[in-house]
């Protein structure tokens, strides 16, 4: 099955300058937040790639850089084979095929716009449809997300789950090829989360969508994603098929992350057995060598000197660690 990538990034970097420096004498001392520090990943057509990590790992910045909401510092982004990160790209063309669903349902809808108007926004901005066509597409989108076709309401009249459905309806209204989901269910109750996840699976099949799923929730990533990339301090530390990465992780950070995720099983209190020291490192002055080395139990000399590259440890399974032989046996 040839699955060319719908999206590919090559060594993508996004650095943010720190502090508003007007001082020309201090120009050389300008510090940067290394939010995304060399990420290369690809999303095969029709697949879901889950990007997993904790706060500060750069996953949200990665999403926003890929969707061009913020300009990359360096690196390349290819959508459907074509380069989109240079200034000459037709952004409207890109957005017709790539959309995003945001984390906070309360802030993704304009409170003084009806939701039908919000859903029609990409149609009005990106396509040349007549009003009648727009109206019918909006109705169709509402139905696809499980809402009534005549849903003329304001966001404040809706529940969190309904708002998120509206956000999804808006994202799919132009029938994009790729939808970036930024923590789509983190703000929702468990039962609502289940509804939205089921909906997302359904929509993927129905409209042949590819997803990039950003989440900190391992269970959600395991459920939805075909491939998982684990990010830590701006870099991808492990990458591979979902079950491999989650059930048989090889990077020390991934191992800790998986073990820290609570599972609903009182006979397996993995939570009480994990131990991790330290905190997420500063993004301005990351540790030298492997970013995880100060907190890693397998760390040795080389770890603080050289940053490990992603290496294939088993088919399609990549890990960035100097001691994958040690982690493999544990």
């Amino acid at each position: 099955m040839t699955n060319e990538a719908i999206l590919k990034t090559v060594n993508l970097k996004k650095y943010f300058p720190v502090g508003t420096g007007f001082n020309p004498f201090k120009r050389d001392e300008q510090k940067y937040v290394h939010a995304v520090d060399g990420v290369s990943l690809s999303i095969p057509r029709g697949n879901t790639v889950g990007v997993v990590g904790e706060s500060g790992c750069g996953k949200s910045t990665l999403a926003r850089t890929i969707i061009l909401l913020t300009e990359p510092t360096s690196g390349e982004i290819y959508f459907d084979g074509k380069r989109i990160d240079d200034g000459h790209v037709n952004q409207k063309e890109v957005y017709r095929n790539m959309q995003m669903v945001f984390q906070d349902p309360d802030s993704s809808l304009d409170p003084q716009m009806t939701i039908t108007r919000s859903i029609s926004e990409p149609l009005r901005g990106l396509m040349k449809y007549s009003d009648a066509e727009i109206k019918s597409i909006v109705r169709e989108s509402l139905l696809s997300v499980g809402l009534p076709a005549d849903f003329e309401r304001f966001p404040r009249q809706l529940s969190g789950g309904q708002k998120q459905r509206v956000a999804i309806a808006r994202a799919i209204s132009t029938h994009p090829k790729l939808v970036i989901l930024d923590e789509p269910t983190s703000a929702l109750d468990a039962s609502v989360q289940a509804q939205i996840l089921t909906l997302l699976v359904e929509l993927q099949k129905k409209f042949d969508l590819s997803y990039m799923l950003i989440t900190h929730n391992i269970a959600v990533a395991k459920y939805l994603a075909d491939t998982v990339a684990v990010m830590y301090s701006g870099k991808v530390v492990e990458y591979g098929p979902t079950l491999t990465v989650i059930d048989r992780p090889r990077h020390p950070y991934t191992m800790t992350l998986i073990r820290s995720a609570p599972i609903p099983d009182p006979w397996n209190r993995n939570l009480l057995q994990t131990e991790i020291k330290g905190e997420v490192p500063s993004a301005i002055n990351p540790p030298s060598g492997c970013r995880f080395n100060p907190r890693c139990t397998y760390s040795e000399g080389i770890c603080s000197q050289q940053s490990p590259l992603l290496e294939e440890v088993s088919p399609s399974h990549f890990v960035a660690c100097h001691f994958t032989d040690k982690t493999g046996s544990s």
Binding site: E54, G161, A190, H216, N217, A219, L224, P264, D265
Partner: protein, 358 residues
């Protein structure tokens, strides 16, 4: 021995347009050295439950009926003044958002020192600790004295300082000497939450209520904080009520699980018993909502419908409109909470048959 006995508690809020019943005839017990997990989705009343125990309900709330007996005293009957004797001393609470729980203008050492000194002063002078007494103590001990120049900053007396460091060590904060001088905004979420726990536990409370303490934290930090709470419970001889929306979290740390729905207790059981045989249809549905496996090999069954509007509650069982086993009886009558031999309680007519399963 039962530490806290809540019986038939009903609490209502008066808002501009309607009255919301936040808790409806809630009954539960908390024993000594017990870790209770109160689980439910938003609007189920779990936060109200926590706030009512510690007496921090908003002014528009009203206890309509019921009692809350803490060591023979009915907390419901106490006014704010009388409640002060318990709040922060025997019953402590930590909240979800650590940044707003800690005072941003005081250093960590001052805040913990204040808690420690408060406890000591209370012990020495009994209940007669007033604001003026505390102010005097602060001045003598050098707590909360702001100073801009680090060189003239008054330091805490050595004994107080080492006790504060002891508490920081207990909550596993690395480099406590450094952390002492920090302000809350300089700490990470996990550290702030640990400071909160230190402050709460320094009072040596018999009961600690934790309202979603890890919801705002990262996964790994959450694991550490929960682990810490579990360990400290035994060390400091405290009972903990953990309010959370996450059943998985409760399963990892709680001794007993209480599931709430729309202001009522749906099920109440020992944790292993609960997970091996969940009884209430809502509890079962909630368990099925937790993603467990991939989309290809498992299915997430969502609960049809949505949580009821708290202002228009149905008459009978609150869950009836969404329950797959609903009968006529469920719509008109409210099931009572009944227990089996293993003290596994459930409020559902499936089990409440005269001469039936129970």
């Amino acid at each position: 021995m039962t530490l806290l006995d809540i019986d038939d508690l009903t609490i209502r809020y008066a808002t501009g347009h309607a009255t919301i019943t936040a808790l409806d005839s809630v009954s539960l017990e908390v024993g000594e050295n017990e870790f209770l997990g109160v689980v439910g989705e938003s609007g189920c009343g779990k936060s109200t439950l926590g706030l009512s125990i510690i007496g921090l309900l908003p002014p528009n709330s009203q206890v309509v009926q019921g009692s809350m007996n803490y060591k023979e005293t009915n907390l419901v009957k106490l006014d704010q003044n009388a409640m002060k004797r318990y709040r922060g001393t025997e019953i402590a609470m930590i909240f979800q958002e650590p940044l707003t729980s800690l005072n941003p203008v005081y250093r960590v050492e001052d805040q913990i020192a204040e808690a420690v000194v408060l406890r000591k002063t209370r012990k020495e002078s009994g209940e007669k600790v007033t604001g003026e007494v505390m102010q005097k103590v602060y001045r003598t001990k050098g707590i909360h004295i702001p100073s801009r120049l680090p060189s003239v900053r008054r330091r805490l007396p050595q004994d107080l300082r080492s006790e504060v460091i002891q508490w920081l060590n207990l909550v596993r904060i690395p480099d406590p000497e450094q952390v002492l001088d920090r302000y809350p905004f300089e700490l990470s979420g996990g550290m702030r939450q640990r400071v909160m726990i230190a402050m709460a536990l320094s009072q040596e409370p018999a009961l600690l209520i934790a309202d979603e303490p890890t919801t705002a934290l990262d996964v790994t930090t959450q694991a550490q904080v929960l682990k810490l709470m579990r360990e400290l419970m035994d060390k400091v001889n405290t009972s903990i009520i953990l309010v959370t929306h996450d059943l998985a979290v409760a399963s990892q740390v709680a001794d007993r699980v209480v599931v709430m729905y729309a202001g009522e207790i749906a099920e109440d059981a020992e944790v292993h018993d609960f997970f091996s045989r969940p009884m209430h249809p809502y509890a079962k549905a909630l368990l099925n909502c937790i993603p467990n496996g991939t989309k290809n090999d498992s299915s997430l069954s969502a609960i049809p419908g949505s949580v009821p509007d708290m202002m228009l509650l149905p008459h009978g069982c609150q869950f009836a409109p969404r329950c797959p086993h609903v009968t006529n009886k469920c719509n008109s009558n409210r099931p009572r909470l009944i227990a089996d031999q293993k003290k596994h309680k459930v409020a559902c007519f499936l089990y409440d048959n005269p001469g039936g399963d129970f």
